[in-house]
């Protein structure tokens, strides 16, 4: 009987170990192929070259154009998501009745559950044509349109996490502020938001990380032209988009082109890994605050 219990515990342990193996696997796979990549391409080229053209005859391996493309779409997304998300969070936590919260929160959950390829289709067929009427010189593929749609996609992440943080602020703080004659808005801005700032930071960082790794929206609406630019109106290419582009084609295995997607993938992984860990440690710290 003891043996049976031990076997079961062992099996369950193995299940948990799968998670560790996944992490180890991801890092090993990315590192292994990236090291091979750097045996052919100097690291200095990778970080200083301003062109990324591994699929052309005149090959250049500078990650910068992909990085700026990624950051450009992410930036547009955050410009949309932060003000909207935080306003919703303040509204839900400080103004809305319990009943209204009960309606709005599931609605936001629906937004979060729409497959990203659908958002991509929407950006390409609705938002871009619309923006072309407003912004002169906007190309059919660009960074603004997918950025905006991505921003709206991550609004639920930002709003729900920051609302949780605001909701956790003790009521005594609100009462103290109201007792001094402050309005709801003043209380929210001067008491609640600062008190919940670490939680809000977490929500923004996670939204950031989410946008950096988002693939299908940019794959459909941003174009496939790696370009070192900060102009959001022209076609660009993000890291994720490049990986999809290579995967859709028939690049021979073990070729240098094949290894580029792992080098690009590792770059992406490092960015999201750092962001996620920052948010994890902030969260750990702020959880302790009110407990």
């Amino acid at each position: 009987m003891n043996l049976k219990e031990r076997i079961i515990e062992g099996l369950l342990f193995l299940c948990a170990a799968v998670c560790v193996l996944t992490t180890v696997g991801i890092i090993a796979v990315l590192l292994f192929q990236t090291i091979e990549f750097f045996s052919e391409v100097p690291f200095s080229d990778f970080i200083t070259d301003t062109q990324w053209t591994p699929l052309f005859a005149d090959k250049h391996f500078g990650i910068l154009p992909l990085l700026t493309g990624t950051l450009l779409t992410t930036l547009v997304a955050l410009i949309i998501a932060i003000p909207l998300g935080l306003s919703i969070a303040i509204y839900l936590s400080e103004y809305a009745s319990k009943q209204l919260r009960g309606y709005i929160k599931p609605m936001l959950e629906i937004l979060a559950s729409v497959p990203t390829v659908v958002y991509g289709f929407f950006a390409l067929t609705v938002v871009t044509p619309l923006l072309q009427h407003i912004i002169p010189g906007l190309a059919g593929f660009n960074a603004i349109s997918p950025g905006i749609v991505m921003g709206i996609m991550i609004v639920p992440f930002v709003s729900s996490l920051s609302e949780d943080a605001m909701y956790a602020v003790p009521n005594s703080m609100r009462e103290a502020s109201f007792a001094l004659g402050a309005s709801k808005f003043q209380t929210a801005l001067k008491v609640i938001v600062p008190a919940a700032s670490s939680g809000i930071m977490v929500s923004v960082i996670l939204g950031f990380s989410r946008a950096v790794g988002e693939t299908m929206i940019v794959a459909l609406a941003a174009g496939q032209q790696p370009r070192l630019t900060l102009d959001p109106r022209v076609p660009i290419e993000t890291i994720t988009n490049y990986i999809v582009q290579v995967s859709m084609g028939d690049v021979p295995r073990a070729s240098l082109e094949y290894k580029t997607i792992f080098a690009a993938g590792l770059t992406l992984f490092v960015i999201t890994f750092v962001l996620n860990n920052i948010s994890y440690f902030i969260r750990k710290k702020y959880r302790a605050q009110y407990e």
């Binding site: 497959p115 067929t125 995967s247």
Partner: protein
Amino acid sequence: MNNERAKTLKDNIFKGWAIFATSVGMIMLAVLLIKIGMDGLHRISLDFFTALPSRKFEKAGILTAWAGTLWIMVTTALFAIPIGVGAGLYLEEYAKKSRWSSMLEINISNLAGVPSIIYGLLGLEVFVRFLHLGESILSGSLTLALLIMPIVIVSTREAIKTVPNTLREASYALGASKWQTVWMQVLPASAGGIMTGIILALSRAIGETAPLIVVGALTYVPFVPKSVFSSFTVLPIQIYNWASRPEAGFAVNAAAAIIVLMSITFLMNGSAVYLRNRWQKNVRW
């Protein structure tokens, strides 16, 4: 007095802005639904579900795509559910608070934040190439299983946390072993919450495109998968493929396929929400 009026005004302005902010998402969702409805609804017919993909948009259907999605969903569930629930059980019921368990915790939170396309790269190297499973349903579903594992684990743990300790004590006090307690008391008592998490995770898996493109799901598959070793396509990839073609006719097909895909995900999310509410109502220790 003026000061007071300014305060109220600011309050009201913010309220108006916040209501606008809340509705932006809803408006977009509404526009999206209307757009795909207008574009795609007339394209939906029995033929659309039973036709093979074609280079002519008016003939193309989603037979292989939805069959692939079904295969992927079932096989992904077969891997993700036992391992995810098992890992959740281990962390909640067995693991002692130690450096190892807090490391596992950071690990899972990290995995949840890894972009899905990275899982694709993992699956490509490990399942497709190293284990020689090829660009098959098996490779795709193993990749997706790893991708949704953190969701399953986290929701399993949340559900198990709601089981009161008095239940475990009562079971132990009758001489039940640890596994008997877990299997006969803890799991049934948290089944509703675990199921909710599993459905949400699977609905996420169904909408995933990028990792499957990377592991080599094809865009043109002229046959229905016969086994887990068949090559395959899925609905989102079919949509991506159609949406990225210049001809307007394929955009119509994409919209129609989106209607199918979104119906499935909404149905799954809806049943998850229903299950969650029912389960929460039934819990009354």
